[in-house]
Amino acid sequence: MSTKPLKQIHLAAHFPGVNNTTVWGDPAAGSHIDFDSFTHFARTAERAKFDFLFLAEGLRLREQGGRIYDLDVVGRPDTFTVLAALAAVTERLGLTGTINSTFNEPYEVARQFASLDHLSEGRAAWNVVTSWDAFTGENFRRGGFLPREERYSRAREFLSTANELFDSWNGSEIAADAATGTFLRDARAGAFAHRGQHFDIEGHFNVPRSPQGRPVIFQAGDSDEGREFAASGADAIFGRHATLDEGRAFYSDVKRRLASYGRTPDQLKILPAATFVLGDTDAEAHENAHEIRRLQVSGQTAITYLEHVWNRDLSSYDPDGPLPDVDPEVGENTIALGRASVRQFRDPLATAREWRELAEAKNLSIRELVIATTARQTFIGTAATVAESIDSLVQQDAADGFILVPHLTPGGLDVFADTVVPLLQERGVFRSEYEGTTLRDHLGISVPGVDRKAAAS
């Protein structure tokens, strides 16, 4: 049909963190805190030759109805510390950490990522996220000071400031020549000065240029602003759209935006998150998937989720019964705090109306409705079916690869590594060995727009 060469798929693994996708009640579920869990998960990803491991972040425990939310997995370790420790038990796997630019300062974050890149010999990546959330801000010195509209402007400036710090060493300063006593060739190493709307800082950055120059930059976010932010400076985008049509639309839209920043389409990888359920037959896999969804969305979970839209106590409703006939409480206060998903319901009355119609049309209970509306892209089937689906989506430009989120900690990735990965390798669309040593090598991306100012002199 086409002579177009096969695209190589990028695969990554998201350590299942705080949410209701983790089936913590499964007898095979282990600790989400113990370092052995992280080691097992990372080594599985590396054995499967994945590009990287991905960690999410949350800086305040979620609350609902004024109390700490207790139905989901709660508690996660510090991103930088876990990734640095994982660098000791892996050799090639990329290490991607989500770090919030709102509750940190550029100098400290830049030196943590530069240090991680040194300590992992070039495997560090940063998923830049932002927050304006005063609730989370209560855990920090600055508090929740950030006006909502400054969210992306601060993030953009945070990232560009961090890049100035990364680039303040060009990589040729260190001579370490004991005979002549020359440790630094250039006394200006690390000098920076940034004056902007959010940061006005100057001085000397104190981590020499790291193996990747700059960590790989990830960005998540689906809004127009989020897409623009990613197009302007990210190396990869942690996407949301993993079905063929939505994926293709998102893919072409984001890749198109690159040109206005002087970038080519291959400089930004689009990697949506996706789950998977395997079985010996497609039918068995679908049965497994159904059962997993029932475990992920208990009756209580369904009610609390519905409360995000209704914004009122629905604890007296039967999850196996129909949706409430009362209307959502509309107001500034939200019943659930610390959840990004809550903000998507901008018009709760309209959402409630839609859901009632959907439930009526398909005769769904509250729990069934929540299961249906919270489904994310899932690869379901035999290993062969799943390999075919993944490959097909990538070859049709719905994505450059996927960030897989297993529902079990820490062994949920094992079966994928053992059964699906070999089939992708057979198809010639996924590596059998790492070709390079750094995450940039794995992703096939170079350091963007580096001004090698001092290199010439």
Binding site: T39, P77, A84, E108, N139, R141, G203
Partner: protein, 412 residues
């Protein structure tokens, strides 16, 4: 502050911080060593100080010597011999990796030795530091600590731009004390058995065992609880420097907020005075956990004493003028052992030694000094505990302040 006499001269034998308890030994690591010219010495591997392998090798050597812990220096500025800004020198090691990340990178490669990275409380978020050190405790299975330091350098402040001018010295230490209070409260904000995984009720945690810390201080407030369960040691070890030269506030930070204080002094008399002052302040504050006070020495060790002195002089000539923060010792391991015995009698329970040259003086500590102390029956011959608190003789898992009804004396 307190009129109570110094009563600590008759310590109970079970007090791990008494001068008759087993001796504790740590090394402080930074760059190629404590001497500015250390990087030019044979075996120094100066090109490797930004690699994990370099630090892994150094900490493995310390662990082979059965040391209690290593501390890793850090700072949020380029090293400088000047307090006004970077000194522009190109003949000294410049640049440094984040100490918490370096400690985490080493943790899976070691089994017994404690890992105490330095953090600067002046510019960091206590929430972040608390979870980072708790995580270091998880990845090292109970071997984490944190060394807190302050910075009043205006050129460091300009890396952050938070304040128009640095805080005053006393305020810096007060803020550090608040920082330590917050990180400890956050460690305690999950009771040990908060994670219940109760399938029957669908509850993953018992939220009644999670606690808001509601800290309100002069410079910041923090709500809590932490986002990570209580670390294996309950409370990782906190250390600080109690240099009298830094004033009363520095003394108070050690006396009231630390598990280990490093005493900087020029001679045994100064050590005794500093120990007495810190212990008085600790006791005046009411019941508290035992406080270790460690002596600090930069050491140059050779089998022949004059050779050590000559080596130091040769290095001095290479480096040009510099001042060491701590007392400098040159001599043989046996002479150093004599000095440690004398200092210990002045009220110290251990020592943090800074190798003048890591490549030379770190193995001299582990293979020269340690066997000498073992021969004298003063130092362990095998690791007797798996956690840092255990090695230091501290309560291996202190009670959680939120788990019991409030009572007097829960101040620290």
């Amino acid at each position: 502050m307190s009129a109570s006499p110094s009563p600590s001269d008759a310590p109970s034998p079970s007090d791990p911080t008494s001068s008759s308890a087993p001796l504790h030994l740590a090394v402080a690591l930074d760059g190629a060593g404590g001497h500015p010219a250390a990087w030019r010495e044979p075996g120094a591997r100066p090109e490797a100080v930004f690699t994990a392998r370099y630090w892994a090798d150094a900490v493995a050597e310390a662990e082979a010597g059965l040391l209690d812990f290593v501390t890793l220096d850090d700072g949020l500025v380029l090293q400088s011999t000047s307090t006004d800004g970077p000194d522009g020198r190109t003949d000294l090691v410049r640049g440094r990796l984040d100490a918490v990340l370096t400690a985490a990178r080493i943790a899976p490669l070691t089994r017994h030795i404690g890992l105490i990275p330095s953090v600067t409380t002046t510019h960091t978020e206590p929430f972040h530091i608390s979870k980072a050190v708790a995580t270091l405790d998880h990845v090292s299975r109970g071997r984490a600590g944190v060394h807190v330091q302050v910075s009043g350098l205006s050129y460091e402040e300009r890396h952050f731009g938070r304040r128009a001018a640095p805080l005053s010295g006393a305020e810096l230490y007060e803020e550090a004390a608040d920082h330590v209070e917050v990180i400890r409260r956050l460690w305690d904000s999950w009771e040990d058995d908060a994670e219940i995984r109760d399938v029957a009720t669908g509850r993953f945690i018992d939220r009644d065992k999670l606690h808001y810390i509601d800290f309100e201080g002069r410079h910041f407030s923090v709500r809590g609880p932490s986002i990570i369960p209580r670390p294996p040691q309950g409370r990782p070890v906190v250390s600080a420097v109690g240099a009298a030269a830094d004033g009363e506030a520095a003394h108070r930070l050690v006396a009231l907020s630390a598990d280990i204080g490093y005493v900087r002094a020029r001679d045994t008399g100064e050590v005794a005075a500093a120990v007495a002052a810190i212990r008085r302040a600790r006791e005046a504050a009411g019941p508290a956990e035992p406080l270790h006070l460690f002596g600090e020495l930069t050491v140059y060790l050779d089998e022949d004493g004059p050779a050590a002195t000559a080596r130091k002089e040769r290095l001095d000539a290479l480096a040009g003028h510099y001042e060491d923060d701590s007392e400098v010792f040159t001599g043989t391991p046996a002479q150093l052992a004599d000095l440690l015995v004398e200092r210990r009698a002045a009220g110290l329970s251990g020592f943090r030694l800074r190798p003048g040259v890591n490549a030379h003086d770190l193995p001299a500590v582990t293979r020269g000094l340690v066997p000498e102390l073992q021969r004298r029956g003063l130092f362990r011959t095998a690791y007797e505990a798996d956690t840092l608190r255990g090695l230091l003789g501290l309560d291996p898992h202190p009670a959680n302040r939120y788990a019991t009804p409030p009572s007097a004396g829960t101040a620290a």
